[in-house]
Amino acid sequence: MEKLLLVLVVVLAVIGIAQLAKVYQLSSELGKKREEDISPTSNKVNGNLLVLFMVGLFAFFIWHLVKYNGEMLPVAASEHGVKIDRLLNFNWAIIFTVFFIVNFLLFYFARKYQYNPNRKAYYLAHNNTLELIWTVIPSIVLAVIIIWGLRTWNQITEEPGDDAIVIELYSKQFDWTARYAGEDNKLGYANFTMITGQNPLGVITNEGIDAKIEELSDEITKTRARLANEILPDSKVEELEDRIGMRGRQKARVMNFKKSDKDFDVANDDKIVKGEFHIPVNKPVNFQIRSRDVIHSAYMPHFRAQMNAVPGMNTQFTFTPTITTDSMRMVLDDPNFNYILLCNKVCGSAHFNMQMNIVVESEEDYKKWLSEQKTFVAPEEETEEVEESEPEAMATDDETN
């Protein structure tokens, strides 16, 4: 109802403005004043308004800074994050300065040099010294920004050392799964062809390969039988034939795993975690990021970490958390605070709610928690595939949070 009123107000406002316009139009025609002749009064009013606007803009800015300071991202909770924030603050210092000075000069000059019939503008076509100054000074400032920025970037994107804990962040519409590498700190191999209801990440295990080959062979045989025994419309025949081809290619791919000399047993101690995942404080964590369907992005703002999850490739991001969840709760004086992982690349209808909590804790607590998680179990028997959940339904339930 309230909103309806609002809409009504808008409509009325528009009508009102149109009426006002008509009156204006008539009045200016009556007076025979030329539209292009800007009267000294109008010039003066607009000049003053420009300066007033500038003051308002600056005040608006400062109001934001004061009022919303506490609502911005809190201190960085990772080693590199502190460096990013330092660089950011340096950039801010420059940007604020230039913002105030340049906007001031613009509005101030506009008002100060407003039209005066008794004066002539200063005919100044160019001035090499001035132009050189404002080419060189920005260049120097930018050089500093570039060098500092690139050094920070290089440090952040360095290949992680062997001591980094490897965790996979696996994305699909519309949730995240974390996979821990287990004792060997090596993630088991995975491939999308291996995905089943029980093996949502498509982790490859020797048993899984056999089961998958059987499943695919089964499907091919059944479909062939259907083609042979049933009378089907042409389009359906074509579809089924396509399907057989596709399953055949997938089978070939899975057979290749069998031939490869990779050690699929490294998967056996992997642990799969949903809902929330834990990381130890002050230890580097190397996130291996993957996607099953469309592009997602793993965004962990408190740690100043972000990396896209791209189907068909592995991406990674490494950071060292420095503040435990408990300490952060104290710092922020908010007992309900949680670090979170969000999706930051539009991925469909429930993109806005694709999150997972992150718990940073001491190493002992982390080890204890991890030992309570079940290890990855290879699928025994293939059953008829069940989709885990309908995307639409996923969106509404709060399973992930």
């Binding site: 909103k3 609002l6 809409v7 808008v10 403005i17 316009a21 204006y24 200016s28 030329r34 292009e36 800007i38 109008s42 010039n43 607009n46 000049g47 308002g56 800015f61 934001h64 919303y68 911005m72 991202l73 460096k83 990013i84 950039n91 940007i95 913002f99 906007n103 000059f109 503008a121 200063y122 005919y123 100044l124 076509a125 160019h126 080419t135 260049s139 570039i146 920025g149 690139l150 970037w153 699909k172 995905i195 596709m246 997938q250 369907d293 469309v294 592009i295 992005s297 703002p301 990396m307 896209n308 791209v310 189907p311 068909g312 949680n338 539009v346 991925c347 209808s349 806005f352 709610n353």
Partner: protein, 595 residues
């Protein structure tokens, strides 16, 4: 050209013996008429895109609340009980962005002003090819119609964002609007690209070949320089988008796998392996970044002209301005990777793009300082066009500065794809470029329609728009610094964004105000086109050639011979002359230096 001497009645005249209504108003090959067609179409597209933004802004300010108006416009399917559907939300955002960037600020801005001003300011009778020019408009029109029609598709208009990254945009299983809606989007864009190429080629050829006697490249108004480089950018980059769109169409319907690999969706492993979504990102942004300058450069060119005219002072550093347009044009081709720092691309490649991107700040800074120096010690007349130009400089500076942060890959990690980015690109495109467009309309309205727009309404429009504009987009920086991602249907599922929820209400409030203020403009525009005060030949006392043509449009632009040019266009307030302007057609005095 014998028909040229014939003067034609203006827009409200109904008949003419020689020319039928159709060939004069519809399939016209006259650049002035085509320019008006582009402008009016763009105005309609702008209204639609603005309405879409208000629809989704309501949801962002008051998530999950019911609005009659949404149900009224979107129906029960997309706004049951007045609550915006979450798929529709994404469709609205996508179409809003697409229409604003391509249809309003590319087709609308270049189409209108390149067409109007290139022949008039270089002293040509028309574009090199009137036929191509007409086709360019009609392709634009058809693509506009298709794009708008896609809003009415059963499964929804394209919803993957204006960047339509695959696989989301390639798979209808991923999102219902990736079905027919996306197909229409792709078809519309393919036609749009054709339109843009036809236009751009024509602009380039015309500028190179049809300049009148004495109009050296170094005597061209900066508007023409800006349109020229813009057209070159378009010709070099739009074909790449065309290729990207084509490959996407093939992935969608012919089973190829340029962009697709290792996908499991809808309980099934798909066939494609070996493609890469990153390839699409490279192709898209190879256009996407030059595109923002395709949008911005014409606005900067228009502003250069208007500021010089209304400050009654030469544009400061004419050659530096040309140099910076060239530098920006060149650099804009080697910075596209700054949209992809976190795409999974090699981080070293990222470093290269940081470097090239930050270099663009230098020519941009030169432009900003030169505008301000032009105003310094000028004799400034605040016409509505001038106010919008000043607004452009302010927003260009404000928006450009935050670009420094986004260009820095290390900093981008925190704010990539958050509202900070939305704030940044709206301040440069949504405000600066739009202000340039408004400035151009107020300034050249008398040339287009032979009538004046109402100045007082122009003031009201300017003040409400700049207040509303900053009011909408300034707070978005802070929403972004709180970590709020873009393209989210609502933020209520996160405690960490509760603190900025009231900013979202503030933003929507300003947005409604700014949108209402455009009502003033629309009224002024259409009313003045028919009933406005009749214009004099050179209302702003300007130097450029377009003001030497008769107020009433005629084919061939000039009666009799083409004008001859003797000087650059910026001799305002030159010593030794009584008037404070010296048109380009006035010969140099024997003792006079050019500048």
């Amino acid at each position: 050209m014998s028909a040229t001497a014939e003067s034609h009645e203006h827009a409200h005249a109904h008949h003419h013996e020689k020319e039928s209504f159709v060939s004069k108003y519809i399939f016209s090959q006259d650049h002035k008429m085509i320019s008006k067609q582009f402008l009016v179409t763009a105005v309609f597209m702008g209204i639609i895109a603005m309405m879409l933004s208000i629809f989704f802004r309501l949801q962002l300010a008051w998530p999950g609340e019911s609005f009659e108006i949404l149900n009224f416009f979107l129906g029960d399917k997309w706004a049951p009980d007045g609550v915006l559907d979450r798929n529709m939300y994404l469709s609205l955002v996508t179409l809003h962005g697409t229409i604003m960037v391509f249809f309003v600020l590319t087709g609308g801005l270049s189409g209108t002003f390149s067409n109007l001003l290139i022949p008039l300011q270089i002293g040509a009778r028309d574009m090199a090819s009137g036929m191509l020019n007409m086709l360019s408009y009609w392709f634009f029109f058809v693509s506009s119609v298709i794009m708008v029609a896609s809003l009415f598709v059963e499964t929804g208009a394209a919803g993957g964002g204006w960047t339509i990254y695959p696989p989301l945009s390639a798979l209808p299983q991923a999102m219902p609007s990736s079905g027919l809606g996306m197909t229409l989007w792709l078809i519309s864009m393919a036609i749009f690209i054709a339109s843009s190429l036809l236009g751009s080629l024509n602009y380039i050829v015309t500028i190179l070949n049809l300049r009148t006697k004495g109009m050296k490249m170094t005597r061209l108004p900066l508007t023409i320089w800006a349109f020229f480089i813009t057209a070159i950018l378009g010709v070099l980059s739009f074909p790449v988008l065309f290729a990207a769109v084509l490959l996407l169409i093939m992935d969608r319907s012919m089973g190829t796998s340029f962009y697709l690999s290792d996908i499991y969706i809808g309980s099934e492993a798909l066939d494609p392996v070996g493609g890469s979504p990153i390839l699409y990102e490279h192709l898209f942004w190879f256009l996407g970044h030059p595109e923002v300058y395709i949008v911005l450069l014409p606005a900067l060119g228009i502003t250069s002209e208007i500021i010089a005219t209304n400050a009654r002072k030469p544009i400061f550093g004419y050659r530096a301005m040309i140099g910076s347009i060239l530098a920006i044009g060149f650099l804009s081709f080697i910075v596209w990777g700054h949209h992809m720092f976190l795409s999974g691309m090699n981080p070293f490649l990222g470093s290269v793009f940081v470097f090239t991107t930050l270099l663009i700040a230098i020519p941009s800074a030169v432009k900003a300082f030169n505008y301000i120096t032009t105003i310094w010690k000028g004799n400034v007349i605040f016409t509505p066009g001038m106010l919008f130009s000043i607004g452009l400089v302010s927003t260009f500076v404000t928006g450009g500065l935050t670009g420094i942060i986004l260009a820095d890959s290390a900093l981008d990690i925190t704010i990539h794809d958050t509202y900070f980015v939305v704030a940044h690109f709206h301040i440069v495109m949504g405000l600066s470029a739009i202000f340039g467009m408004f400035a151009g309309v107020y300034h050249w309205f008398p040339k287009m329609f032979g009538r004046m727009m109402n100045t007082k309404l122009g003031y009201a429009h300017f003040w409400l728009t700049i207040i509303g504009g900053y009011g909408v987009f300034f707070p978005m920086h802070f929403v972004g610094m709180a970590g709020a991602p873009r393209r989210y249907y609502q933020y209520t599922d996160y405690a960490m964004f509760d603190g900025v929820a009231d900013l979202n209400v503030l933003i929507t409030g300003f947005a409604i105000m700014a949108a209402a203020a455009q009502g003033i403009f629309l009224f002024n525009f259409f009313y003045s086109a028919f009933k406005g005060q009749r214009a004099v030949q050179n209302p702003w006392k300007s130097n450029t050639l377009e003001w030497t043509t008769p107020v009433e449009h005629i084919h061939g632009n000039w009666e009799g011979a083409l004008p001859e040019v003797h000087r650059w266009p910026y001799d305002y307030s030159k010593d030794g002359w009584d008037e404070d302007f010296v048109p380009q057609t006035v010969p140099l005095r024997s003792d006079e230096e050019e500048h």
